[in-house]
């Protein structure tokens, strides 16, 4: 009986990796079609991000920076949508910059998704400044002289012709920065070259893989909060009461993580059984 059970475990342990790929595909795909609706509880880091935006007053200047591309879009885009919704609800004046060339397309997508729900006027309530090459030098340029760096917006409109740019000359005229980042240049550059020198509040939404890198800054108070990966996006969506792609992706991610853990347990069980058997052979 015991031997049969061990044989089954060993057999499962030597399963072809294509079968694993198929199982992973299924466990990601099925919850997306048949959502379970797991309860989402906001973590402290997400709550602090939310509170930082929530504390801003109507008409405050809020800069959102897009530092991600299509590869990390499923993770970062939902948080950008949620934060922009939050900002528009609070009637903040939203300034959008991009440190990544494809960030501009991401920003346009987010605006296209959120704008239909609000009556916002371009140039008065929000502005898309677009992408500039130069990585951290762009952050430094924004910190010292925005109009020197951005002489025109993304659509080549002269910056002096945009009403909401009249009283904004440097980062110190911005009340809070929110960076949506998936790597370099991103949140770290905003801390080092922008928000720390200018003394401006910074919060961030990052891809899961980048959380480790940002946590020390959050712990030191240089970053007010972190929306960490898709779970963070789902938590933010819960807090603003508007469910989106982050929430719908949580079921799939939950089940996928659980299946990976089961694979690890199974792999180790096989490893120990085989080791024991090989010891007996010798």
């Amino acid at each position: 009986m015991m031997k049969t059970l061990l044989d089954i475990i060993v057999k499962l342990g030597s399963v072809d990796r294509r079968v694993i790929f198929l199982i992973i595909a299924l466990v990601v795909f099925l919850p997306l079609i048949f959502p379970v609706g797991l309860t989402i509880k906001p973590t402290d880091t997400t709550r602090r991000s939310f509170e930082a935006v929530d504390e801003l007053k109507e008409g405050d200047n809020f800069l959102m920076s897009f530092e991600y591309g299509p590869s990390t879009k499923p993770e970062v885009n939902p948080m950008a949508v949620a934060v922009l919704n939050h900002a528009f609800r609070k009637n903040l004046r939203v300034y959008i910059t991009c440190l990544w060339p494809d960030g501009q397309f991401m920003a346009q997508d987010v605006l296209a998704e959120v704008l239909p729900d609000y009556d916002k006027v371009y140039g008065e309530d929000y502005v898309l400044l677009g992408y500039r090459p130069g990585n951290e030098a762009v952050v430094k340029g924004i910190e010292s002289n925005i109009k020197g760096l951005y002489t025109v917006d993304y659509a080549n409109t002269l910056i002096d012709e945009i009403p909401m740019m009249q009283d904004v000359n440097s980062l110190s005229d911005i009340d809070m920065v929110f960076s949506f980042s998936a790597g370099y240049p991103g949140t770290v550059e905003w801390v080092q070259y922008g928000c720390d020198p200018a003394g401006v509040k910074l919060s961030t939404g990052v891809a899961s893989i980048q959380v480790n890198e940002i946590l020390p800054y959050e712990n030191a108070g240089q970053v007010l909060g972190i929306i960490a990966g898709m779970p963070g996006a789902a938590e933010y969506e819960t807090m603003i009461g508007k469910k989106g792609f982050g929430t719908s992706g949580m079921d799939a991610q939950s089940v996928a993580h659980l299946v990976i853990v089961l694979f690890i347990v199974l792999g180790n069980a096989t490893y120990f059984i085989e080791r024991k058997r090989s010891q007996k052979t010798y």
Binding site: L38, R132, K140, V211, L215, M250
Partner: protein, 342 residues
């Protein structure tokens, strides 16, 4: 002299000026760091992009010419490069139709527009009814080819309207939906990038299955932390009772005792004793998760993130920062000359 001393002098002066800008309260240095130097950097970065593109062509071209390993993929890289250059700088692929006069037959016009934009003719009719006299109406559909736009113009003019086709301005052709550049970004670049990243999930699953083994103490720590993070980060983790985690700890204790004492009897006693203690404690506490909430997966993962993880990250960051200070000083003082090709 020209090749060595002048570049070294430029690096020394620029480096020192930038360094002083952070520490000296002087307007000249501050302006240099905050404004002039950053604008120089922007200009140089723009040129670096051109150099980077040329380098990509050189490396991939060399691979194809010398038939190096996987040279066939380089053809796609070069093809993709020239396609991007073409749709970005040479061919706009962003034609649209403007109607200056809708003419007497607006019903037919709205049907032509509805067919072109793939919308309900009623919606097109409502949209057209809002157009004021002498107002120029722009059909929202973008045509990649001129012939497509010309066909629509012919259809509209045949129904009594006055229409002509135009091209979006340079720069505008990148931003508008439906242009060739936008098509490339949405239908080529986005799915390819997303696919590459999504493949990670499959490789992580396969690799964790084969490589995450309890071989030694360090591997065990890594494994346990990994599992706690994976389960604790997702909503499913908060559904798992901390009492279940406590049972897992007891079982873990049994494994440790077995490895240490190598005595089945003692392992059985420790494990059974532990299970009994947890069960009795559970009954006394009414299995309330709040009584031992500190053992729940979300709390454990938060602790791993914010204590050992931050300690390790800080150590690495401080090490990198010290290394950067050292390397920067070597470059400023002319000790490190690799940027000169030496």
């Amino acid at each position: 002299m020209l090749k060595r001393q002048i570049p070294l002098a430029i690096v020394f002066l620029t480096g020192m000026a930038t360094l002083f800008g952070w520490f000296v309260d002087n307007v000249v240095f501050e302006t240099f760091v905050n404004d002039t130097a950053t604008q120089w950097f922007d200009i140089i970065a723009s040129f670096a992009m051109i150099l980077g593109s040329l380098n990509l062509l050189r490396v991939q071209g060399e691979k194809v010419l010398r038939r190096k390993r996987n040279w066939i993929y380089s053809i796609f890289a070069i093809g993709g490069f020239f396609f991007s250059i073409t749709v970005g700088f040479l061919f706009r692929g962003a034609n649209y139709v403007e109607i200056s006069d809708l003419g007497p037959n607006q019903g037919a016009i709205s049907e032509v527009i509805a067919s072109a934009e793939n919308i309900d003719p009623k919606i097109a009719a409502v949209t057209l009814s809002l157009v004021e006299e002498n107002e120029v109406f722009e059909v929202s559909r973008i045509f990649i080819t001129e012939s497509g736009a010309k066909q629509l113009v012919d259809d509209l003019n045949a129904n009594g309207a006055k229409a002509e086709f135009k091209s979006k301005t340079w720069g505008g052709h990148i931003l508008e939906k439906g242009t060739l550049f936008n098509w490339m970004f949405v239908y080529l670049f986005t799915p390819l990038s997303a696919t590459m990243f999504a493949l990670l999930a499959f490789f992580v699953a396969s690799a964790s299955y084969r490589a995450f083994r309890i071989r030694n103490f360090e591997a065990t720590l890594l494994l346990i932390s990994g599992i706690i993070i994976m389960v604790g980060r997702v909503p499913l983790g908060s559904l798992i009772s901390p009492w279940f985690v406590l049972y897992l700890i007891v079982l873990g204790g049994g494994i440790v005792s077995n490895s240490y004492f190598k005595d089945v009897k003692r392992t059985f006693q420790i494990t059974t004793g532990g299970i009994l203690v947890v069960t009795i404690a559970g009954f006394i506490a009414g299995w309330s998760p709040d009584s031992i909430y500190f053992l729940s997966f979300p709390v454990l993962q938060e602790w791993i993130y914010s204590v050992p993880n931050i300690a390790g990250s800080r150590a690495i960051m401080i090490g990198i920062a010290l290394g950067m200070v050292g390397t920067s000083l070597r470059i400023i003082l002319g000790i490190e000359k690799s940027f000169l090709g030496e």
